[in-house]
């Protein structure tokens, strides 16, 4: 049997009443969730001014991560797809508001109103196609696009995740970047198979000082490495913020796209089986600037 819950059943089935109950009655899980949430909050780097912020907890589950947010004095809204997990959160009388919802359907939140978002061990679930109507790419796109919109400019989102492999990490990251986020992956204790933890740290808005990826913990602890044949990359902070360009700028370079570039691009899309308008004399012609 696979030890990855993501491969066993869809989240709303996997996290049923029994699993949800197990979740909060295991002191090991409670401890880990608190530790991960604490670190995620730290990476959010909210201004140090004692003003409570409005945060989002995506995949808030039983509210363990939310309790950490409350302890740090902030308000939160939690979203989860499993009613059983949310019922446990109710039982625990967590302070945040709870919403039963699927992040893969996009977040229905007004633009620019949220001060930050965390998510603990949840986002990798989006990479699975649990129903015939599920297309992971579309779900990732809907999720990151809607998250980007509801966050205030300069706000951060920090996701602790367990990607199944490098391809999955790349996939998640690429959709975050496409939505307009800058940021990268922070890997704490990269040399320890037990303590190794991975966080996606994203910032809303164009690259700036605040979008540089924070540094990881425990990077120099080579000595305590308990896992020599770790297949992970050596550099712990995979900074990709310089790869990021704000979406609009990407479309218009200074000179404008050349006709040959456009034709090439269209050919490539055709070869992928996409529907592309035919090439005509109007393709990539010069257009007057209009406002």
């Amino acid at each position: 049997m696979s030890s990855r819950p993501e491969l066993q059943a869809p989240p709303e089935i996997f996290y049923d009443d029994v699993e949800a109950r197990k979740y909060t009655s295991s002191s090991r899980i409670v401890g880990i969730q608190a530790e991960l949430s604490e670190r995620a909050l730290e990476l959010l780097a909210l201004p140090d001014d004692d003003i409570p912020r409005l945060l989002l907890d995506i995949g808030c589950g039983s509210g363990l991560s939310g309790e950490t947010i409350s302890e740090n004095g902030h308000q939160w809204i939690g979203l989860d797809i499993s009613r059983s997990m949310l019922d446990i959160a109710l039982e625990r009388e967590t302070e945040g508001d709870l919403i039963l919802g699927d992040m893969g359907q996009g977040l229905g939140l007004r633009p620019g109103v949220i001060d930050g978002a965390i998510s603990i061990s949840a986002v990798q679930w989006l990479c699975n196609a649990d129903k015939s109507c599920h297309e992971p790419r579309l779900r990732l796109k809907a999720f990151f696009g809607s998250l980007y919109r509801c966050l205030g400019r300069g706000a951060r989102a920090v996701f602790q995740l367990y990607p199944e492999n490098n391809a999955q990490r790349e996939l998640i990251l690429s959709f975050a970047m496409r939505a307009g986020f800058a940021g990268g992956v922070v890997i704490d204790y990269p040399h320890s198979s037990k303590k190794r933890k991975e966080y996606l740290v994203l910032t809303c808005g164009p690259p700036s000082m605040s979008t540089t990826t924070p540094s990881a913990k425990g990077v120099d602890e080579n000595s305590c490495s308990d896992d020599d044949n770790s297949e992970d990359e050596e550099n712990q902070t995979v900074c990709i913020s310089d790869r990021h360009r704000p979406r609009k700028k990407q479309k218009v370079t200074k000179k404008g796209k050349t006709r040959s570039w456009v034709l090439q691009k269209k050919e490539k899309m055709r070869s992928k089986g996409n529907v592309v308008p035919p090439d005509t004399k109007y393709t990539a012609r010069k257009r007057k600037a209009r406002f």
């Binding site: 308000q75 919403i99 939140l109």
Partner: protein, 123 residues
């Protein structure tokens, strides 16, 4: 669910252009006391859609908020902040529904949790 959350939520159904504010159908409201924090309120004020909050608060049985968007100078008034605090953080929609203003689709609220899961054809 508090009105803070109601003020942020909008209907996410495919094709819906203006899904905000969700209309509230009240079956049961509960009040829970929350620590008063003026800093939070002052920080939130500019993000709040005032009309939606005032209307929602009225529907929930609390009609003390001004209907018109107040000038930011009211944030110096403790009396105002107390009312704002109560409406935003202490009134919970426990049972009822949120209704999409454009399509009329009902999102039921049970034990304070709105079910915002969309059907396949709404995504």
């Amino acid at each position: 669910m508090r009105l803070l959350t109601h003020n942020m939520l909008s209907s996410n159904i495919k094709g819906v252009i203006n899904g905000f504010p969700l209309r509230i159908e009240v079956e049961k409201v509960v009040e829970k006391q929350v620590d008063f924090n003026p800093d939070f309120l002052k920080n939130m004020f500019s993000k709040i859609d005032w009309k939606a909050l005032a209307d929602a608060s009225k529907i929930m049985g609390y009609a003390e908020l001004p209907e018109e968007v107040p000038d930011a100078s009211v944030l110096d008034s403790d009396e105002f902040l107390q009312k704002f605090h109560h409406a935003l953080l202490e009134l919970h929609l426990e049972e009822g529904a949120l209704v999409c203003p454009e399509t009329g689709r009902r999102f039921p609220v049970n034990k304070g949790i709105p079910n915002m899961l969309l059907h396949e054809d709404e995504v």
